[in-house]
Amino acid sequence: MIIPVRCFTCGKLIGDKWEEFANRVKAGEKAGDVLDNLGIKRYCCRRMLLSHVEIIDEILRFYEEAEKRKEARPY
């Protein structure tokens, strides 16, 4: 759904690194290099970011679309 706060296996805080990770990978950097750069060493924590899909963004799109329709209607 949304990025987990901590690594499932070891409990390291990873939630606050997701946005930087996602933006840098989107900009074309290699995911492995970004993870190294963020100081995420263990593979349990690395898979947390590597395999994550923000499904909440897809769900919130329904609310955004409904809002747009509401605004388009004059009454």
């Binding site: 949304i2 990025i3 690594c7 409990g11 805080l13 946005e19 769900i59 955004e64």
Partner: protein, 278 residues
């Protein structure tokens, strides 16, 4: 076991600590490791009261996420709820910290971060301000009150002050100059790049990195192998990674204090049992 314990700091920053400890045995090292993980208390949100929640997440999911947020801990200023003189289930201001969250999305979809939690004690705050708690679409609201308490790792992983705490044997590598023909197979196979080849000789490049996997011994064409991997008696590399709730040295001193207390307690109980027998 010798009486003198030697501790050398190999590496230390605000999060990580690596120690070389000599003169203790495996049971003591393991007891220390387990005390760090399960007995050193730290702060975490334990209970929440949801006043309004019109987000896409259920109350329980939000409660779970809030619980996992590491909070900076002040061990001197607060009591464990079970040891607090107030004896109340709800807690008093010596064993409980209240944090409030009141957020709403007015215009467009937005992320709510841990920095928006308002604590009644400015020193008990999330270790990072940028942990996403939830995403809200327009007109969604979240209003809640959270109660943080001290707790121990044995009750829930959110109260664990470390994300890693390990001990391993201190490696000892012996390379026999007579038997070794410098083929370099052991250098190639080592996953941690412990060995290096200079000229026709094999040298140790990074002793600490050795995991005692014995791959180099198995690959050596000589019989018996020219390289021998063992470990030193009563010497350990102790590594610890804090979640930033407490500093690594604070975790370590606290763990030793707790372990000492438990050992004294055990001794007293044994003495009581003995005197009952007589």
């Amino acid at each position: 076991m010798s009486k003198l314990v030697e501790i050398e700091v190999l590496e230390k920053d605000d999060k990580n600590m690596r120690l070389l400890i000599r003169g203790v045995d495996v049971p003591y090292m393991n007891a220390l490791r387990r005390t760090v993980i399960a007995e050193v208390p730290c702060m975490a949100i334990d209970e929440i009261v949801v006043i309004e929640n019109s987000s896409t997440f259920q109350d329980e999911v939000i409660a779970h996420r809030l619980g996992l947020i590491p909070l900076k801990t002040d061990l001197e200023g607060y009591n464990l709820p079970e040891e607090c003189p107030c004896k109340s289930e709800f807690g008093c201001n010596l064993c409980r910290v209240t944090l409030a969250l009141d957020v709403e999305s007015k215009e467009k979809t937005r992320t709510v971060y841990s920095g928006e939690l308002e604590s009644e004690n400015p020193s008990i705050i999330p270790v990072s301000d940028t942990i996403p708690i939830i995403k809200l679409a327009k007109e969604q609201k979240l209003k809640l009150e959270a109660y943080a308490r001290l707790g121990k790792g044995k009750n829930h992983a959110k109260w664990q002050p470390v994300s890693m705490c390990t001990h391993k044997y201190f490696p000892k590598i012996e390379i026999s100059c007579k038997k070794c023909d410098g083929c370099g197979k052991c250098v190639e196979i080592c996953p941690r790049k412990v060995l290096a080849k200079t000229g026709n000789r094999i040298e140790i490049r990074d002793l600490m990195a050795c995991t005692l996997c014995q791959d180099c011994v198995e690959t050596c064409p000589q019989n018996p192998p020219a390289v021998k991997i063992t470990w030193e008696e009563n010497a350990f590399i102790f590594a610890l990674e804090s979640t930033c709730v407490l500093s690594p040295e604070k975790i370590m001193t606290e763990a030793i204090k707790i372990l000492d207390g438990q050992l004294k307690d055990l001794e007293r109980q044994i003495k009581v049992k003995k005197s009952e027998k007589d």
